[in-house]
């Protein structure tokens, strides 16, 4: 019983402090993690030529992470693990306790 209470309190504490959850759907070919800075191109910005699609990526921030900074950071981190050097068509949606960012993870073909 004490364990359940502790777990519940810990869960609520975690949510209260803020978390960023990321997910991906691989649509192309993954490669080794990218260690450089991942570029972010917002929706409406033309996609540079010579890039290959790798995956759809999403980041959702809760609590104190429900802001642009954390969800973009989440997208960058998720993209880097897939070997992407850019996330294009990024769209950010803001709620009052949550924020979401979606984009397409891309890799420069010549890299």
């Amino acid at each position: 019983m004490k364990r359940i209470v502790l777990l519940s309190v810990l869960s609520l504490f975690t949510v209260a402090c803020g978390t960023t959850r990321t997910s991906r759907v691989v649509t192309g070919k993954e490669s080794a993690p990218y260690s450089g800075e991942v570029k972010i191109l917002m929706d409406g910005t033309p996609v540079p030529e010579g890039m290959q699609e790798v995956a759809l990526v999403q980041a959702i921030g809760h609590g104190f992470h429900a802001d642009l900074e954390h969800v973009i950071q989440g997208l960058r981190a998720e993209a880097a693990t897939l070997g992407c050097d850019a996330v294009v068509r990024v769209k950010v949606d803001q709620g009052s306790t949550q924020a979401s960012a979606n984009g397409v993870c891309m890799r420069t073909a010549s890299r």
Partner: protein
């Protein structure tokens, strides 16, 4: 203490509510006659197939803790249902909505009812179903 535990459990249970759903519309009467696809459905967001035949428009969404992979899988199945083997994702968006949830708890020897506001997210994937023949080339989308 029991009340606190009950509320915490209810909150966690409410936030854990997940479901996905989808819908599709054939582009034309003729495209509705294509049999359901049984093979793999390729998903792409930035490329369109040269010479691909558009079969219809597809939307899939997920609420609560539904993750992007669950929603895209729902999207993929809808594309297959239209007879497509190529799923083009045109747009992904998330909307947030405040909902009032009712819960009950034990107060003394009776059961009381309370309400609370919960923000629920819905992520939607909108795109198109295509049928492509083998050996067609891929080109970059504009």
């Amino acid at each position: 203490m029991r009340r606190l535990l009950l509320l915490a459990s209810l909150a966690l249970a409410a936030s854990g509510c997940v479901y996905t759903r989808s819908s599709a519309v054939p582009s034309s009467a003729a495209s509705g006659l294509v049999p359901q696809s049984v093979g793999a459905v390729q998903v792409r967001a930035t490329a369109a197939r040269e010479g691909a035949r558009e079969l219809g428009f597809v939307e899939a969404n997920g609420t609560g803790l539904a993750e992007l992979p669950d929603i895209v899988e729902e999207f993929r199945q809808r594309v297959a249902g239209l007879g497509g083997n190529y799923a083009q994702v045109d747009r992904i968006a998330t909307k947030f909505e405040m909902q009032t949830q009712t819960y009950t708890y034990t107060c003394g020897k009776s059961t009381c009812t309370g309400t609370r506001a919960v923000e629920v997210s819905t992520t939607s994937v909108l795109g198109r179903a295509f049928l492509i023949e083998k050996s067609t080339a891929t080109r970059s989308a504009p």
